[in-house]
């Protein structure tokens, strides 16, 4: 548990635009998307067809909830894999660079 917390801590405190930073943002988007999905916001995407999911809430709120869900969905499906691939590429680059700096035995 302590090790997990420490790993999580290192992830939270990751350097800007580092591989861990990319992973941190990917996790954040996935968590937010999961919350939006569990709250039933998928229904509000009907705004794409010009329909209000809940006329009682009004057009503005319906549009906001629908657009919010869509942003998180496309973030999860399109942007999260990009962040993870970018994290992998950066980590690989750092490894290669570290190996090239290591003195030969």
């Amino acid at each position: 548990m302590k090790e997990t917390s420490s790993k999580f801590g290192r992830l939270i405190g990751a350097d800007f635009l580092s591989p861990k930073d990319f992973v941190r943002h990917a996790v954040l988007i996935l968590v937010l998307f999961a919350v939006a999905h569990l709250c039933g916001l998928r229904e509000f995407t009907t705004i794409i067809s010009g329909t209000m999911a809940s006329p009682a809430l009004g057009a503005g709120t319906c549009a906001l909830l629908g657009m919010g869900y869509m942003a998180l969905y496309f973030g999860a499906v399109v942007f999260v894999p990009i962040l993870l691939i970018a994290a992998g590429l950066l980590a690989l680059w750092e490894k290669v660079r570290a190996a090239s700096r290591r003195p030969l035995p």
């Binding site: 635009l17 990319f22 009907t46 067809s49 010009g50 329909t51």
Partner: protein
């Protein structure tokens, strides 16, 4: 220190660009399915069955239907009506494709037709029209809407084609006579005051063709005259596509519109197959598009600047994707056997229309009942039109 930060930002952005270049062209592979998943040559595809299950549930579960109707009528009363029409036309095709489904299809069709006619009788045609339809300002009196008459005629003809029902025979004959008399007298008919729609004329004429097939009548002269008029006055010079709407004297009100032309081309298949193919090919060239393997359709061709409206739905800027046109493009692609485009459109549905499947029922959250009914129709269309093929 600053140099190190800039270096990190540079590497980070470069990694994001390379990752995007790797990922974006691959996304569609996770959503792509063969066109046969969407529609099959015989029987009903799994997707068609699931969409039909959801649509039929809305006619048995009154609470769900009430919610759906309130949502749609809040935006556009036409959708309530068109949702009925497309569902009835789809059910006719399902019944013709799968004999085991025929009794359930007939039962649902009868309920929908009965309730639609009752609402029209009790509340008038304006119940299914947008607010600006005021009967007293129609140019031709007494006011009638071809939108309502044409779609009801096609519902009645579809029901009778699946299985004859004598009570519906005079209702269809009366509706067809009304359309035929109007077209003979005025060449075109209004759907709204001084507003005629190519979509509504195409549907009405297809209904007339089916009625001829059922009752041995012959409206071929009226159909030919209207087609000649359309080719003469309603073709947009820049694209060769039929415009979407026009006044009673045939002056175009709009250019060619995606939410109209795909279904128009489909209806033309039973009126003038060569012209239908020509219109589909032109629409494909002018309106169909593909981004990273995902198919979609524009509402307006590049040579015409029109706004987003209630028919197009919101248009996504830059990409020019219209939900209305893309949904109806499924009908066009399915009707003309354009499997390549159909598969790309179906991939977009799964990617960006937010499917929701539960207990064998399928709906698309980004859509609504009428949108889902259009998709259902696209999965099963064919057999009904085969009954109305143009005789040589």
């Amino acid at each position: 220190m600053a140099k190190l930060l800039f270096k990190r930002i540079g590497f980070g952005l470069l990694a994001v660009i390379v990752a995007s270049a790797l990922w974006l062209p691959c996304v569609h592979l996770f959503f792509q399915k063969p066109a046969t998943e969407f529609r099959t040559a015989v029987g009903v595809s799994p997707m068609g069955k699931a969409l039909a299950a959801r649509q039929l549930k809305l006619w048995t579960d009154l609470a769900s239907r009430e919610v759906e109707l309130r949502r749609m009528r809040g935006s556009n009363a036409e959708w309530d009506f068109m949702g009925r029409s497309f569902l009835v036309w789809a059910l006719a095709n399902i019944g013709l494709r799968d004999a085991a489904q025929k009794p359930a299809c007939l039962n649902a069709m009868d309920r929908i037709i009965e309730e639609t006619l009752k609402l029209e009788r009790e509340k008038g045609m304006c119940h299914f029209l947008m607010n600006y339809a005021k009967p007293d300002i129609y140019r031709v009196q007494p006011a009638r809407s071809l939108f309502v008459d044409g779609e009801i005629a096609l519902m009645l003809a579809a029901r009778r084609t699946l299985e004859e029902k004598v009570e519906l025979k005079p209702l269809l004959a009366e509706r067809v006579k009304c359309i035929a008399d109007g077209l003979q007298a005025n060449q075109v008919l209004e759907s709204y005051p001084n507003e005629c729609w190519t979509f509504d004329h195409a549907v009405a004429l297809a209904a007339m063709r089916l009625a001829d097939n059922l009752d041995g009548s012959d409206h071929s002269e009226i159909i030919s005259n209207w087609l000649a008029f359309a080719k003469r006055k309603l073709v947009h010079p820049g694209t060769g596509l039929l415009v979407s709407s026009f006044t009673v004297d045939g002056t175009p009100l709009d250019g060619p519109e995606g939410s109209s032309i795909w279904l128009v081309a489909h209806c033309l298949q039973v009126l003038d197959p060569a012209f239908a193919r020509d219109q589909y090919d032109r629409a494909r060239r002018e309106l169909a598009q593909s981004h990273c393997g995902f198919g979609s359709a524009r509402e307006w061709p590049a040579s015409w600047h029109g706004p987003a409206d209630i028919d197009s739905g919101p248009i996504i800027p830059v990409l020019n994707i219209s939900a209305g046109s893309s949904g109806l493009a499924l009908v066009g692609a399915a009707a003309f056997g354009d499997d390549e485009y159909l598969a790309k459109l179906a991939a977009t549905l799964d990617f960006a229309a937010f499917p929701k499947g539960e207990r064998g029922e399928l709906q698309y959250c980004a859509s609504n009942q009428v949108g889902d009914a259009v998709m259902l129709y696209a999965t099963v269309l064919g057999p009904l039109w085969a009954k109305a093929e143009v005789k040589p």
